[in-house]
């Protein structure tokens, strides 16, 4: 066993795992609010990343473009909910799926149309040198882990310790009862979309230097994000985050150490994980079946 290689793969896994965790969290937030999986989550993140690239191309410094992109994505997510999903919120599941697919292909093809399909370099603000020792973890991987942890901490504080965070949790948990408490449930759902889009934007900008920027960059990552969300249990934001890190580490370690798996079959791991977890525990590892007594 090569322990240094293992440690290297675990750290790299945590770095990409943080991205999966963000995507999974965004998926779970929208799922909690509207009971549907947002298939377009990855494409929204990809589009946001192109906006950041465009801003930098126009001369914005990295962190200015970073913050602007988050703000633009938030407004964009909010607008998507208000314009597209609010009118159909009572519609059956198939209508939702059709709209998600439409959103997916509109975002994908308009990104291709505006910015074309050639692969673009996306800069990292952290540099590419080694952070510790001889290539154990790169500065960008370290930065990815750092930014992800800060983002997750901020979200935790927001949901646990602010009134609007509590209102959003109430609206997602029991919309009818939340309305009877005077909470504007529709706006809480829209806010959830805005935040999910913003989280996706951060994930997209962080992973773009690794996978390169192009309209299909997020498809594999969304699959891992779904795997993370399912492993964690779609009802548990904390579970989604842990699931994200777990999927990242498993993917990297298995890809390196299991013979014949190689890089080619890495993506299969996500699907195997989804199926395996669902077989053993249909509500996901951290998905709670509600405790209640009557």
């Amino acid at each position: 066993m090569n322990w240094e290689l293992l440690l290297h793969q675990v750290l790299a896994g945590l770095a990409t795992g943080g991205i999966y965790a963000c995507i999974a969290l965004a998926v779970v937030m929208i799922y909690q609010a509207i009971d549907h999986l947002n298939f377009a989550q990855g494409e929204m993140a990809m589009f946001s990343t192109f906006i950041a690239w465009q801003l930098m191309n126009w001369g914005c410094p990295y962190w200015v473009a970073f913050v602007l992109t988050i703000a633009i994505s938030f407004v964009g997510g909010l607008a998507i909910e208000r314009i597209v999903f609010k009118p159909i919120h009572d519609a059956p599941i198939l209508s939702h799926i059709v709209v998600f697919i439409a959103l997916f292909s509109i975002l994908n093809s308009s990104a291709g149309w505006i910015w074309d399909y050639t692969i673009k370099d996306f800069p990292t603000p952290f540099g590419t040198r080694s952070l510790i020792g001889n290539g154990l973890i790169s500065a960008h991987d370290g930065g990815m882990i750092g930014v992800t942890l800060v983002l997750l901490a901020l979200l935790y504080l927001f949901f646990r310790h602010t009134r609007i965070g509590l209102a959003m949790r109430a609206a997602a948990a029991n919309p009818e009862s939340a309305r009877l408490a005077g909470i504007r449930v529709g706006w809480m759902v829209a806010l959830g979309w805005g935040m999910a889009a913003a989280i996706g934007a951060v994930a997209g900008m962080l992973i773009a230097p690794v996978v390169f920027l192009e309209p299909n960059m997020m498809i594999g990552i969304l699959l891992y994000g779904f795997a993370a969300a399912v492993v964690g249990g779609l009802t548990s934001p904390g579970g989604a985050v842990i699931g994200g890190f777990a999927v990242g580490v498993i993917e990297n370690v298995a890809g390196t150490f299991i013979p014949y798996f190689g890089r080619e079959l890495k993506l299969t791991i996500a699907l195997v994980l989804i199926v395996a977890v669902l077989l053993v525990k249909p509500s996901g590892l951290f998905g709670r079946s509600v405790v209640s007594r009557v």
Binding site: E176, S177, R293
Partner: protein, 238 residues
């Protein structure tokens, strides 16, 4: 004669194409307790849902003289109408205290909210003991207390209660009704109470309405209805 706080005229309610209320006239006096009685499926819950904007309605509803029919639930609640729904509407994953804070979500007077949470705990000491507990783990009676507490946090002028005694032991029901009486007297909260337990409701309320299949059967002072042998025998079953 006291002023009318809530008044409905010719109130009709619809679930999709099905009509469940057929031109109900109903009034709640300011500072009073009114009860709405009727058998299963009579339309009691529907009447409360119609008043707080949860179902499609036709007809007129006035709260404090203002027309409110057709307004969204959130707006009606913000006028000071707290609705304790059938089934209690507990936020099961949130703690007891978070449930109370949710009830105060429309308010911005932070120090007073803390005072009011304390006041609720004063009425329901058992909730104070369980303040950090997930609300879904409370007993039925405790959840009912929590639902009333959550409604109190709105500082409502009118409270709509849908079968608050449902599933509770007689002793706990008595306790709850004492608190409702105290709320009415001390905090000047007017009450519209839906109940299956007619004798208990008639004891508490000063006015009563009896409905059947979405239509009014009889109304009047509680005492008169309680003393009317035919009504009692044929509708209230005691």
């Amino acid at each position: 004669m006291s002023a009318t706080l809530l008044e409905a005229k010719g109130l009709c309610a619809y679930y999709g194409a099905t009509q469940a209320l057929f031109g109900l006239d109903l009034a709640v006096e300011a500072g009073g307790i009114t009860t709405l009685l009727g058998a299963n499926g009579a339309g009691k819950t529907t009447a409360l849902r119609a008043l707080s904007g949860m179902v499609r309605v036709a007809g007129e509803i006035r709260f404090d003289g203002r027309p409110i029919a057709g307004r969204p639930v959130e707006q009606i609640v913000r006028l000071g109408i707290a609705h304790v729904p059938q089934g209690r509407g507990t936020f099961v994953r949130q703690t007891v205290e978070e449930n109370l804070q949710i009830g105060a979500m429309t308010r911005h007077d932070h120090t007073e909210i803390a005072t009011d949470i304390d006041r609720v705990y004063g009425y329901f000491p058992r909730l104070r003991e369980r303040r950090r507990q997930q609300a879904g783990t409370l007993s039925g009676g405790e959840q009912q207390m929590l639902a009333v507490g959550r409604a109190m946090m709105l500082r409502p002028r009118l409270m709509l209660l849908d079968e608050p005694s449902f599933g509770l032991a007689p002793l706990i029901v008595q306790e709850l009704f004492d608190i409702l009486r105290a709320l009415n007297r001390e905090a000047n909260v007017s009450i519209l109470l839906v109940e299956q337990n007619a004798s208990l409701a008639l004891d508490l309320a000063d006015h009563a309405y009896l409905i059947e299949t979405g239509r009014l059967v009889i109304k009047g002072p509680s005492r008169d209805i309680r003393d009317d042998e035919t009504v009692r025998r044929s509708y209230l079953g005691y």
